[in-house]
């Protein structure tokens, strides 16, 4: 009975459960972490339930208010959405468990973290389910504001500056998006993605809308050269927040870009994919090089995110043949979510332990926090694209598409990016093996924080072993068939 209800309402429950959790945790600050964990577990079950219904009954559609497009708003859960929801649920659960321990010593921050995080989760789920352009705008804003609040939570000047920059960029990106929607509405008379897809034509309003929306989302996704805002924000936030920003928030805007690209824009501007690919390639190289230059661990990880975002965009020009490029990009998104969350958690552990995150002074941490270093290294495998890991599988597919189409330069970027990633990951791991004496007071780290990081890292490796299940989910009602 409960099970059936859950299967039937899994999609809307994915929005209502985190929302209810947020409201409860706001009203009852004393029970925040309990409410938060309960919500996270609930969301995870809902996501699993949705996956099950998707696999048995196919694409799910929910007409909010019973109206249906174009008058009403529709929610739609196909394989792509469900996969993103599932990823968010799993990584979100990990982040929640981690945050519960992390904020145990900072109760005054926990009471803000939980409602903000649950509202951010609401925004993520709502975004992945939305099939309506304007509704997507609202979810984008909810996402941006809650992410800003979370970023600023650390309270340091760096965090506030990072949050401010992020807020301005995010708001500006949303405005570009909204202006694009305005043009689309006045051209098509509605904002339902499926209906708009039938209406857009190669005329200047459509192109303008495309340019506005794509640039707004590219800005929010921090694609090179619009990545400038990402490292300060992601590196200065508290560890659980860094984890969720890098692992999930970036993915949401990328998902949206991908969705709109596939459904609306790709026939409109077939040349644009080369530009996106070029920027992606530049992001891979530039992000990796800057990651190599960083003195602080969290900045290194943040720049690694910049580079990994680049891979996601390399898929655009590769996707004209078959599905493997999109599969690769999505697989990279999935494994990066797990790996990057784990890396930021490991970095958070090291930082708490040592009181700083200067890479050169991470002496002997391998002995003191072996699990965290292991988590970092294993997550690093996925980032480097070494087997067995989700990152490897993703890179395999991307490389396959690149070589099949003779896009040598992109293939070279993919290969070189992996080498650079190895260089920066091992810069950190290398210091873990030093044998310098203890020079500072070390703060003990709860074991749970290390284990959670490790489990997420292992998850990113398992993605490299169990490849079929995610692909099966992705294949349901897929928009990824691509042009041939």
């Amino acid at each position: 009975m409960v099970r059936e209800a859950m299967l039937q309402y899994a999609d809307i429950a994915l929005i209502l459960v985190p929302l209810a959790g947020a409201l409860l945790s706001f009203v009852l600050p004393r029970a925040v972490s309990l409410i938060g964990i309960a919500s996270a577990v609930g969301i995870t079950f809902c996501a699993l339930g949705l996956t099950e219904t998707l696999l048995t009954n196919g694409v799910r559609q929910h007409l909010v208010g019973g109206w249906g497009a174009p008058l009403g708003i529709e929610l739609r859960a196909d394989g792509l959405s469900t996969l993103m929801l599932l990823m968010t649920a799993v990584v979100g659960l990990g982040i929640s468990l981690y945050a519960r321990v992390w904020f145990r010593s900072e109760a005054n921050k926990a009471i803000w973290f939980w409602p903000l995080w649950l509202l951010l989760w609401t925004a993520l789920n709502a975004l992945f389910l939305a099939a309506d352009l304007f509704n997507l705008y609202v979810t984008l804003e909810l996402l941006g504001l809650s992410a800003t609040g979370l970023t600023a939570l650390a309270g340091s000047a760096a965090a506030l500056g990072g949050a401010m920059r992020y807020l301005l960029v995010s708001l500006f990106g949303s405005l570009l998006y909204l202006l694009g929607i305005a043009l689309i509405y006045h051209q098509c008379g509605n904002v339902d993605i499926a209906l708009v897809a039938e209406c857009l034509s190669p005329t200047s309003p459509s192109w303008a809308a495309l340019a506005l929306i794509v640039s707004g989302l590219v800005l929010k996704t921090a694609l090179f050269p619009f990545h400038f805002w990402l490292p300060p924000a992601h590196a200065s936030a508290p560890a659980p927040v860094s984890a969720l920003l890098s692992a999930l928030v970036i993915k949401a805007t990328f998902y949206l870009l991908l969705r709109l690209w596939l459904d609306l824009f790709s026939p409109l501007a077939p040349q644009l994919d080369s530009l996106l690919g070029l920027l992606g390639a530049a992001a891979v190289l530039w992000g990796s090089l800057l990651a190599l230059r960083q003195v602080r661990l969290k900045l290194l990880i943040a720049y690694s995110t910049v580079a990994q975002i680049g891979y996601l965009f390399i898929a655009f020009p590769l996707a004209s043949v078959g599905m493997s490029a999109w599969n690769g990009a999505l697989y990279l998104a999935l494994s990066h979510a797990l790996a990057k969350a784990s890396m930021f958690m490991a970095a958070g552990n090291l930082m708490r332990h040592a009181g700083h995150d200067r890479i050169r002074e991470l002496d002997l941490v391998a002995q003191r926090l072996p699990l965290s270093v292991t988590a970092f290294a294993l997550a690093g495998m996925s980032i480097m694209g070494l087997p067995p890991s989700g990152g490897f599988v993703a890179k395999w597919w991307l490389l396959e598409s690149a070589l099949q189409q003779g896009m040598w330069s992109l293939a070279i970027v993919l290969v070189v990016g992996g080498i650079l990633a190895a260089a920066y990951v091992f810069r950190v791991v290398g210091f873990a093996f030093t044998e310098s004496p203890v020079t500072h007071e070390a703060c003990p780290i709860p074991r749970a924080m290390e284990w959670i990081a490790l489990v997420l890292a292992l998850g990113s490796l398992l993605l490299g072993v169990f490849v079929q299940p995610p692909l099966e989910v992705l294949a349901v009602g897929t928009p990824l068939a691509g042009g041939n």
Binding site: F134, L145, G149, A158, L160, L171, A182, H186, P232, R293
Partner: protein, 112 residues
Amino acid sequence: MAADDTRVSAVTPWHFYALLGVGLFSLALYTFIVQAHLLRKILAFNIMGSSVFLVLAGLAGSPAGEAPDPVPHAMVITGIVVAVSATALALVLMLRLRDTSGRLTLPEDMGG
């Protein structure tokens, strides 16, 4: 809704509002980019928001005296609430930034 050929491209007063909107948008965007002071950036964001609303609602005027399309108006109201929320958060963030760093501008880039 396929593009149907009966619709003609012509200039109406509603286009004028929209043009005003994009003009304002461009101007405010210039301020948003060029001005370092955060308050000005936030104000510029607000003007940009208003100009987007102008485009959205301005074009919703009906051609033949019927009631104007309510959907863009509803969207504008939603957009205003969002803009108000964002502005409030941005202002408080700005003041906190001033309290901690003594500056009303964004910090320099980190790490490159």
